[in-house]
C-alpha cells in the first residue's frame, strides 16, 4: 500500500471534516449507475431533456462556485432554466429526483471501502466528525450508513456559499469550538476542498492518485496514513490527558447548544471561550485555583467509564455529563456548571447584541 505524503499527526487532531461526494463514496461508480438509469429512462420516454437539464445544472453550479455568490441557491435553478428553455419548477423537480433522491438507492453500494472502519475509529478515539458538502448531505450520509457529529451543507441558511469559500468550515469550527489548526479536512478536490481548508488555516488531505505539493494525498482508506488512528482505536484509542482549556471550550460548546436555538449556535464560539477564560483568569486567586482543579476533575470524570476525558467525548455524552453535574445536589458540582453557564450566557448575548452596549443615550444603536 503506497502512501503519497507525510504522516498526519493524529494526536494533534480533534476534529475531522469530510467532504461527501467523491470522498465518502466512489462518484464515478455512482455516475455510471445513474447514467445507465438515465439512459433507460431517456429511451423509455424518447427524450433527452432530463439529461440536458442535469448537464447544464452541473455547469451552472461550477460557474457559480467560481463567483462565490451568496444567492447561488436560486441562481443555479434560474440559470439552468434559462439555458434549457424550461421553467424553474421543472429544473427543481429534475434536480430533486436525479440529484437528491435517486442516487440514494445506489449510494451504499458505491461507498469506499475502509470508510466505515475509519469513522468508527475516529468516533472511538473521541474525535469529532463533521461533514461539509456543497449539496445537502444528511440523507446521503444516512444512505451511506455513516454517522457524523455535525453535518453542514452549503445550502444551509447561515452558510449559503459553495466551496472554496470557507463559510461552512467556519460554521463547523464555531459550533464545535475546535481550532482550525487542530482540525483536518479530508476531500477529493484540490480546487474546492483543499482551497477552502487552506483559506480557513486548516490542514487537509486529498484523495488522489498523484502526489501534490499543496498537501498530503491518499489513495484509499486502507492507506497507512490512517493506520495510527484505526489501530489505536482497536487497542483502546490514543490516551488524552485532561486539559483545562479544552474542557472549558467543550463545556461552553455544550452550553451554547443548550441555551441557543440551532440557527444561532454558530455564533463566534472562540470569542466567547476567550471571554470565559479571561473571566476565569481574573477571578480571586483562591477561587481561580479551586475552579481550575475542579474543571480538570470534571474533564477527567469520564475516564473510568470511557477511558477518555470529557473534551474527547461525543457531543451527546458531553451534554449528558453537563446535565448531570448541573442538576447535582452537590453544590460544588452544580456551582461549576452555573459559573460557566453565567459567563457563557453573558458572553454570547454580548456577542450577538454588541450594538446594545455602545454609548448611553445614543439612539443610533438599534
Amino acid at each position: 500500500m503506497k502512501q503519497h505524503s507525510q504522516p498526519v499527526f493524529w494526536n494533534d487532531i480533534d476534529l475531522v471534516i469530510f467532504d461527501l461526494d467523491g470522498t465518502l463514496y466512489n462518484q464515478r461508480r455512482l455516475r455510471t449507475c445513474m447514467a445507465l438509469n438515465l439512459l433507460h429512462v431517456s429511451v423509455k420516454t424518447r427524450s433527452l431533456k432530463t439529461l440536458n437539464v442535469l448537464r447544464i445544472y452541473r455547469q451552472c453550479r461550477e460557474t457559480l462556485a467560481e463567483g462565490a455568490l451568496v444567492d447561488f441557491m436560486n441562481r443555479q435553478f434560474e440559470d439552468t432554466a434559462m439555458r434549457c428553455g424550461c421553467s424553474v419548477v421543472e429544473v427543481r423537480e429534475v434536480v430533486d429526483e436525479w440529484i437528491e433522491q435517486r442516487p440514494l438507492i445506489y449510494l451504499r453500494a458505491c461507498r469506499y471501502s475502509g470508510i466505515e472502519a475509519l469513522f468508527d475509529a475516529l468516533h472511538r478515539s473521541g474525535r469529532t466528525i463533521a461533514v461539509f458538502s456543497d449539496y445537502s448531505a444528511a440523507a446521503k450520509l444516512e444512505a451511506l450508513s455513516l454517522k457524523a457529529d455535525l453535518v453542514v451543507s452549503a445550502t444551509d441558511g447561515d452558510v449559503q456559499r459553495l466551496k472554496p469559500d470557507p463559510a461552512g468550515l467556519y460554521k463547523i469550527l464555531n459550533a464545535t469550538g475546535f481550532e482550525a489548526s487542530r482540525s483536518l479536512m479530508i476531500g477529493d478536490r484540490f480546487d474546492r476542498d483543499w482551497a477552502a481548508a487552506n483559506r480557513a488555516g486548516m490542514p487537509a488531505i486529498i484523495k488522489s492518485r498523484r502526489r501534490d505539493p499543496r498537501c498530503g494525498t491518499f489513495r484509499s482508506y486502507q492507506d497507512t496514513l490512517f493506520q495510527p488512528v484505526v489501530q489505536s482505536a482497536d487497542t483502546g484509542g490514543t490516551f488524552a490527558f485532561p486539559s483545562f482549556e479544552k474542557c472549558v471550550r467543550a463545556i461552553v460548546n455544550i452550553l451554547l447548544r443548550q441555551e441557543l436555538p440551532s440557527a444561532r449556535q454558530s455564533e463566534n464560539v472562540e470569542s466567547i471561550v476567550t471571554y470565559v477564560l479571561a473571566t476565569h483568569a481574573g477571578m480571586p486567586d483562591y477561587l481561580r485555583l479551586a475552579f481550575r482543579i475542579l474543571t480538570v476533575v470534571f474533564d477527567a470524570w469520564p475516564y473510568p467509564a470511557t477511558g477518555k476525558p470529557f473534551h474527547r467525548l461525543s457531543s451527546d455524552r458531553r451534554e449528558d455529563q453537563v446535565n448531570r453535574w448541573r442538576s447535582s445536589r452537590l453544590q460544588i458540582r452544580s456551582g461549576l456548571i452555573a459559573f460557566y453557564r453565567t459567563f457563557t450566557i453573558f458572553g454570547v448575548y454580548s456577542e450577538i447584541y454588541e450594538q446594545d452596549v455602545e454609548c448611553e443615550g445614543n439612539p443610533e444603536h438599534d
Partner: protein, 489 residues
C-alpha cells in the same frame, strides 16, 4: 481633559511624597485633590489602569474585564452568598457605576452619631461638603422625557399610593439631544488633582505599609499593562491615606499588621432582580439610564430600575427556560428591576499564600424575610404598572403572571443559589469615638497609627440605605478638610 489624565508620573524604585493616597475612587480622589490644593506634595497610586470613560463601552464585557476588580467576580461566601462588584481603575467605582446620587438621609447620620459616637456629624454639618463636591462632580436631573422603563416603576408606585422619586445622577446631560458626560472621578476630581500639581501612578498595587523613623513606607508593585516589566517600588511619606474601597482597605491594613476593628463589619446592599414584561414597548435603544426609585419601604428596602440592555436581560432571565426566544421577541417590552436591603455583617480576612481577601457574610433570617417581602412588593408595583409577566432572577422561582402568583412566593428567601448581588460595599473600618467598634476616630485617623488615615467607603458606620457615592465623597471631603485644618495631626 484627556491630556491631563495622561499626565502620569514616571515610576522609579524609590519614590517619596508628603502624602500618599492609595486608591483613586471617590474617597481617594477627593482626598488627594484637597491635599494637593493645600500645597502638599501628593502621590496618588491606583492598582487599576488609567483609562478614559470612552475607552470601552459602558456595561460591556470588555468593561467588566478591564475596569472591574476580579473580572466582575467577587463573592462574599456564606450560606447565603452575595456576588458583588467593585471598580478597579483610575476613578474606582465611579467609572463603572451609574452615578445615581443622594445625600445621606438624616436618620442614617443620626444613627451613626449615636451608635458610633461620631463627633460633629449631622446633615447640616455635612451639607457644605456635599455642595463642594457637587460643584466639581456635578449632579443633574434628567431633562425632557424620561425612559419609559423607568417611569413604569414610578407609575406603579403612584397607583399603589407609595412614595417614589426621580433620583438625580452624577451626570451632565448637556441638554435634550446633546451628548452627555458622566461625572466620574477621571472626568472631575482626578484632573483637578493633577492641575493642582498632584502626581498619579496607575497600575500600581500597594501591598504593605510599614513605619520606620517617623515615616510611612508603602511597598508596592508597578505592573504596567503595556508589557513593560513589573517593578517593586517603595514610597516613603509623612502621611498615608488608605482609600482602596471597603474590601481592599481592611485587607491592606490587616496585611500591614493593623487589625483592631478592621475588616469586622463590612456591609452590602444585597439585591434581587426581576425582569418585567409589559404589554407595549418600554425599552428603546438609545434611552438614557433609568432614574426612578421607590422609597416607601426605606430603611427596610428600596427598589429601582437597572440597565436593561439585552446582554443584561440574558443574564437576568438565565434561570428561565427559553430565555433566548423570549428576549429576542419581547426585549423592547422588558425592563430589569431590583429590590435592595441592607445585608448581614461580613468579615474581610487575608488567606495565607493568596492575594485576594476572603469575605464571609452571615445573613440573618430577618434579612432573608425582608428580601422575600421586598420581592413581592416589587412584583406588586410592576403589576400595578401594567406588567403582564414578572420573571424573578432566582433559580427555581416561577414566572409570575398575576398577584395570585406573587402571594404564593415563599416568605423567606433561601439565598443559596448566588442570585443575591450587590454593587455597594461599606463600613469595614467604621469611624467614631466608640472604641469598641470603631477603627478610626471621628475623622478617619487610624487608632494607634500616627499619620495613617482611611478615606473611603470603609469609614461609613453602616449601610447608607440610599446610593452611597455622595456620602463617600462628602465624608472624604469633611475628613480631608479637618486633617488639613489640623495640619494632619
Amino acid at each position: 481633559m484627556k491630556e491631563i489624565l495622561n499626565m502620569t508620573e514616571p515610576v522609579s524604585r524609590k519614590m517619596s511624597a508628603d502624602i500618599v493616597v492609595i486608591g483613586s475612587g471617590p474617597g481617594g480622589a477627593v482626598t488627594a485633590t484637597l491635599c494637593a490644593e493645600a500645597g502638599a506634595s501628593v502621590l496618588l497610586i491606583e492598582e487599576g489602569p488609567n483609562l478614559s470613560l470612552q475607552s470601552v463601552p459602558h456595561f460591556s464585557r470588555e468593561e467588566v474585564l478591564r475596569k472591574y476588580r476580579n473580572a466582575g467576580i467577587c463573592i462574599a461566601t456564606g450560606r447565603s452568598k452575595i456576588a458583588y462588584v467593585e471598580g478597579r481603575c483610575v476613578g474606582g467605582g465611579s467609572e463603572v457605576n451609574r452615578g445615581l446620587y443622594h445625600r445621606t438621609p438624616e436618620y442614617v447620620l443620626d444613627l451613626w452619631k449615636t451608635e458610633f459616637e461620631v463627633e460633629d456629624l449631622s446633615l447640616d454639618k455635612l451639607k457644605p461638603h456635599f455642595i463642594a463636591c457637587e460643584r466639581t462632580a456635578q449632579v443633574e436631573y434628567l431633562p425632557g422625557d424620561k425612559p419609559l422603563v423607568s417611569t413604569r416603576l414610578y407609575d406603579g408606585a403612584a397607583r399603589l399610593g407609595w412614595q417614589a422619586i426621580e433620583a438625580p445622577r452624577l451626570y451632565r446631560y448637556g441638554g435634550i439631544g446633546a451628548p452627555g458626560r458622566k461625572q466620574s472621578m477621571s472626568e472631575t476630581f482626578v484632573p483637578r488633582f493633577l492641575l493642582a500639581g498632584g502626581r498619579l501612578i496607575a497600575d500600581t498595587t500597594a501591598n504593605r505599609l510599614t513605619r520606620a523613623s517617623g515615616k510611612w513606607f508603602v511597598k508596592a508593585q508597578h505592573a504596567p499593562t503595556d508589557g513593560r516589566p513589573r517593578q517593586q517600588i517603595e514610597i516613603s511619606a509623612d502621611r498615608v491615606f488608605v482609600a482602596c474601597g471597603a474590601v481592599q482597605t481592611p485587607a491592606l491594613l490587616r496585611r500591614s499588621g493593623l487589625k483592631k476593628n478592621i475588616g469586622n463589619s463590612l456591609y452590602f446592599h444585597p439585591m434581587l432582580k426581576v425582569v418585567a414584561q409589559f404589554g407595549e414597548d418600554v425599552n428603546k435603544p438609545g434611552d438614557l439610564d433609568p432614574v426612578h426609585q421607590i422609597r416607601e419601604f426605606e430603611p427596610d428596602f428600596g427598589m429601582g430600575c437597572s440597565i436593561s440592555k439585552r446582554p443584561m436581560l440574558g443574564l437576568a432571565m438565565a434561570h428561565h427556560a427559553g430565555h433566548f426566544a423570549e428576549i429576542e421577541q419581547h426585549w423592547r417590552r422588558m425592563g430589569i428591576y431590583y429590590v435592595q436591603a441592607a445585608s448581614g455583617r461580613a468579615t474581610v480576612r487575608n488567606l495565607p499564600f493568596f492575594r485576594d481577601p476572603l469575605v464571609t457574610v452571615r445573613q440573618s433570617e430577618q434579612l432573608l424575610r425582608t428580601l422575600a417581602n421586598g420581592l413581592k412588593r416589587l412584583a406588586e408595583a410592576l403589576f400595578a404598572a401594567g406588567a403582564v409577566a414578572v420573571y424573578p432572577s432566582i433559580r427555581g422561582y416561577p414566572v409570575l403572571r398575576s398577584m395570585i402568583d406573587v402571594r404564593n412566593l415563599p416568605d423567606m428567601f433561601g439565598g443559596e443559589d448566588g442570585s443575591m448581588t450587590s454593587v455597594h460595599v461599606f463600613s469595614s473600618c467604621p469611624m467614631g469615638e466608640n472604641e469598641a467598634v470603631c477603627a478610626t476616630d471621628s475623622f478617619g485617623r487610624v487608632r494607634g497609627a500616627d499619620g495613617l488615615f482611611i478615606a473611603d467607603a470603609s469609614l461609613l458606620c453602616g449601610p447608607t440605605i440610599v446610593n452611597p457615592q455622595g456620602t463617600v465623597m462628602a465624608v472624604a471631603h469633611r475628613n480631608a478638610t479637618h486633617a488639613i485644618e489640623n495640619r494632619f495631626r
